[in-house]
Symmetry: D2
Subunit: 365 residues, 4 copies
Amino acid sequence: MAGNSFGQAFVVTTAGESHGPANVVVIDGCPPGLAISVEELAAELARRRPGQSALVSQRDEPDVPEILAGVFDGATTGTSIAILIRSVDPRARDYEPIFDKYRPGHADFSYDAKYGVRDPRGGGRASARETVARVAAGAIAKKLVRESFGARIVGYVKQVGALTANVPEPARVTMCEVESFPDGTPNPVRCPDHEASKAMMALIEEVRSERDSIGGVAEIVATGVPAGLGEPVFDKLKAELAKALFSIPAVVGVECGSGFAAAAMRGSEHNDVFVPGPPIATASNRHGGMLGGITTGMPIVLRAAVKPTSSLPREQPTVNKAGQPTTIVTKGRHDPCLLPRFVPVAEAMVAIVLADHWLRWRGQR
Amino acid sequence: MAGNSFGQAFVVTTAGESHGPANVVVIDGCPPGLAISVEELAAELARRRPGQSALVSQRDEPDVPEILAGVFDGATTGTSIAILIRSVDPRARDYEPIFDKYRPGHADFSYDAKYGVRDPRGGGRASARETVARVAAGAIAKKLVRESFGARIVGYVKQVGALTANVPEPARVTMCEVESFPDGTPNPVRCPDHEASKAMMALIEEVRSERDSIGGVAEIVATGVPAGLGEPVFDKLKAELAKALFSIPAVVGVECGSGFAAAAMRGSEHNDVFVPGPPIATASNRHGGMLGGITTGMPIVLRAAVKPTSSLPREQPTVNKAGQPTTIVTKGRHDPCLLPRFVPVAEAMVAIVLADHWLRWRGQR
Amino acid sequence: MAGNSFGQAFVVTTAGESHGPANVVVIDGCPPGLAISVEELAAELARRRPGQSALVSQRDEPDVPEILAGVFDGATTGTSIAILIRSVDPRARDYEPIFDKYRPGHADFSYDAKYGVRDPRGGGRASARETVARVAAGAIAKKLVRESFGARIVGYVKQVGALTANVPEPARVTMCEVESFPDGTPNPVRCPDHEASKAMMALIEEVRSERDSIGGVAEIVATGVPAGLGEPVFDKLKAELAKALFSIPAVVGVECGSGFAAAAMRGSEHNDVFVPGPPIATASNRHGGMLGGITTGMPIVLRAAVKPTSSLPREQPTVNKAGQPTTIVTKGRHDPCLLPRFVPVAEAMVAIVLADHWLRWRGQR
Amino acid sequence: MAGNSFGQAFVVTTAGESHGPANVVVIDGCPPGLAISVEELAAELARRRPGQSALVSQRDEPDVPEILAGVFDGATTGTSIAILIRSVDPRARDYEPIFDKYRPGHADFSYDAKYGVRDPRGGGRASARETVARVAAGAIAKKLVRESFGARIVGYVKQVGALTANVPEPARVTMCEVESFPDGTPNPVRCPDHEASKAMMALIEEVRSERDSIGGVAEIVATGVPAGLGEPVFDKLKAELAKALFSIPAVVGVECGSGFAAAAMRGSEHNDVFVPGPPIATASNRHGGMLGGITTGMPIVLRAAVKPTSSLPREQPTVNKAGQPTTIVTKGRHDPCLLPRFVPVAEAMVAIVLADHWLRWRGQR
């Protein structure tokens, strides 16, 4: 009701502020018997972790998960799972000088308008710090959908600023291509077009040196999803996925399949032709894996537009709580481009939606 | 759970198939004392109605609403409201020859995959016919948010094919400009840029004559919404609005504020500067009225990309239920461009989200 | 949210007032492929119908159901089912003289306190008329649980006033014993102890002739329910069943298994001993078919206490809306004892809970 | 969905097993600005704590709560609240010899039937240990309803075995009378009839010495609740309260107001007469504070029947997981009578329901 839960059958509930003692996630409805280890959770959290490369925030959070409930003898029991992730490097004092000021592009003002009060340390509940809980839950969801029906969810950076990657076959991109260069060194920008990656890295360094930030687009692809997932009318899978992605901080646009490009197309060129099975498939995938909001068995293809980081290490004009003009410099340790760390969060949300709809489908069929 | 309800405090539940006897909507949670007449419902339904102009489907549905419950002496009682809209022109026989074939771009195949069975008459539950129930509920939601806090929700066609309207000030567009030309004649394309309207009309006529269809983009603007609506984390208002719009048939993309254009921007150019109040506002509105998923009091600006109509009155290759190749010609009476009739549906969904979050906000504060 | 829906996977939403034009029920989440006919619905509605015997209200409602959606070719499609039941004998004028007065034992006052307004015709939404929608939904739920796992749900009158039936083996009572006497004539009081039935009939006639009413207890038994249904902690099956029964008008107490008698028992006499399987069972059934809120495979046994009808055809002191003393005589056609018509409503609610938890169980396992 | 959450506007989600590392509760929807301290939580937890008197379980759990999120500067922020309670005295080894055996009266068998696996240490998720999380959430709910509208929720033991307390005016019982004897010494049995208390204490000691257990009844009274809370039809306040109480382990019956005694009454003696206001009230309170499931402003009076503790420190026959006959002695440290520690749990659940419906009411009005 108050917005801190997601899903109906695989239900994720989170709590935690940017600079509070911990983030917590409770996952309710996970089937029993799924093997889960702290190491698996930690591996996904490491992909989202600040400080993982020179391109991202240098806040030093090891993000060590502790499983408090719902797992016995290394496997889920079917009851609610609780995971705790303590904060160790909050440095709330960085924010004290600006407690009273509204950071441009942030939720300080809107939270005050909503609640009358707020936790002003680094964005409180509105901080992207909360996504650590999503990634922990997503690690379980990913494993559930992989073990249940072989789903594979891969996200990557498609665009940074005006630089767009060339990814001719989204459904063939591997996690390895996203995370590493051919020589095995980590690819900090998470773009499978390695030429573009280098340009993106240079661009991100450039905006950082100019004390600025830059936006971008991520693409998330889910393959191996059986036909038939999603609900009619309001809970179409495309609608749930759009909500899931739009719920991530800084997302300002979502499209699936052809997306906005479909606006300029004719039906005769947009319709994907069905081809004989089994299994029945389509010759092309402009529909992005869903028709009528229900999966067709073709790869699910989504893109999310992410705005440039709002926190800038430069002086910006703004107002304070009393409505008077002032200026602000945000001193926290921020990402000049959100996209590299956005990828695992987006994957997590897609996994949670698929896990939820898988269980919903099983219930009715 | 099974996808036919929307909202948590203002809850809309619908039922009805394209060629069944009726569509029904139950609205639960509407505050008591809101004056509602059948005429108000009928006025909104008329905007969505097929047969309203030469540009749209010629199916002849008067769409007369009957209020069955929840309204006494012309006003809501606070208990559940039920509205019935009978179908009078189903012509299900148009579909009999294709019961066994999968229409390209439609949900026939994915519904079969999901349920094993389906109502094959004109798309059954997956047909856009179900949006009649959304518009009826939206009429009540619109009135609630208008009477409660003066919200005004205006949608219009922003793009058809490659033709893009010039709408310099979205928050100033009036319903009158959208619905009519300056001489008072109806504007069947619902675009406030009247020059663009004429080009769009010509384009739609052209694709129709070529037995084809065309996509487009609608923009929906809500003004008068107070700061503070929306929930943190998963139920951010932007996420709920994205889900609401993506739940409408044929929507393949949604963006708010700067949207996908933000990907190419720097933080220093994207951040909207706060300006002193009261009330505190922003000098620009690239954030589209929401920060951290919570309203700022600035106009909410959304865009939805709509794919070209999948039903085409021409032969298309496809497969039948057995997976064998065949061809199909859809004979129903379809819109060559969905956008003009999409506008009132999109407005309805935005109104329902705002009504829901208004009640949720009141509950907690 | 606003109380007019029940269930999470098999979701029942209702609307309709005592003297409005119709009652409506939408059922969302029913699996596809379940054969449903109007005749099956009508048969259950006939058991609840007023006017069915001399013992009950003489309001003449045929209660003819119309299926508007969700059923095609005689079977459910998996999408939302809508059923309409028009009212034909409202006689709202009976209530006009008392629109302004608070009937003792009724919700007139509390609804005014809640909503500020209310539909005063015969109780409006608070009337037991709404249970017609529950019985229609329950007919589908009953069929679902019978076809899915052979569940049989039988309710009967256990007590009227001080008269208590002797039902030594609740799990062996048949619908036939409840509905009819051995000679095949209908048993209007729905008690399988036929000696007690006659005394109950006489008692009900006596209170009616004295322009009074009488309370009672119904027992509802579900057999054939597999072990493992129900959820931990808050959604224990016993909790959901208690809510379901307590949601029916006039219910003031619910117990399962040993119920209140357990308060005076020792653990050594209350614990049911497990006996070797397969299937594992218990030698006795003081636990009423659920342990830890989850079914054991033993019969589910519930009892509901129903208060005496509040509407009395005699003068009672009360106050009017202005808070001034007055007197009232309710002229509607009321049941002197609610129990006989309560039985099918209670069965319906038990069926809905079992259907819901069956689907929830399937989703997670 | 999977049963570990309760409420719609004040939503409580819990996780934790009897012998796991911790119990966790997340509370979503609490209004901002409510002062909450760890001490207030600890005070309520102390009332539920094992080891608090010679009458109850001697497991030594200090139950120290840690607030992880949702509270800043000593007050709620409106975002989700997380509370952690670590376990310090699990002694899981007590249970190892019986991991494979089904304890009579416990959920071991039904959990195995449901999930196929379970945490066998002390009942796992089915243990009454989970109620620690309810009490922590209830402490916040109690404070919310007290500060919002002056509600006072007092529970006490009404019956132990055949011993029934004489409590002539439930609405006048004070917490002090329940918790202490007139001389200020703690009343370990929590019964405001102090003569009865002593007999109850003796009875509990007697059953303990006989290695047995005994059942009982608790009465919970809420005063100061305004007229108008509760929802129509399915979410009647009586139904929600019944579910809340029935969700507590060992509850087998719930009644409100006259309860099962109403079955033997006539309408003319049961109806409570309205008396002129302001505020309008009733001369008697057989309706227990709710009519039509909505509060009247009169005290809410509920009773819950609690079965005798199923764990007995004596040999009992049972079966093992393979279905073979065996015997069992439960060695954990158990309460010979659950009632004294049940009282704060029942109060917590009543508080949570009232908090939830208060917020729901505010949302709609």
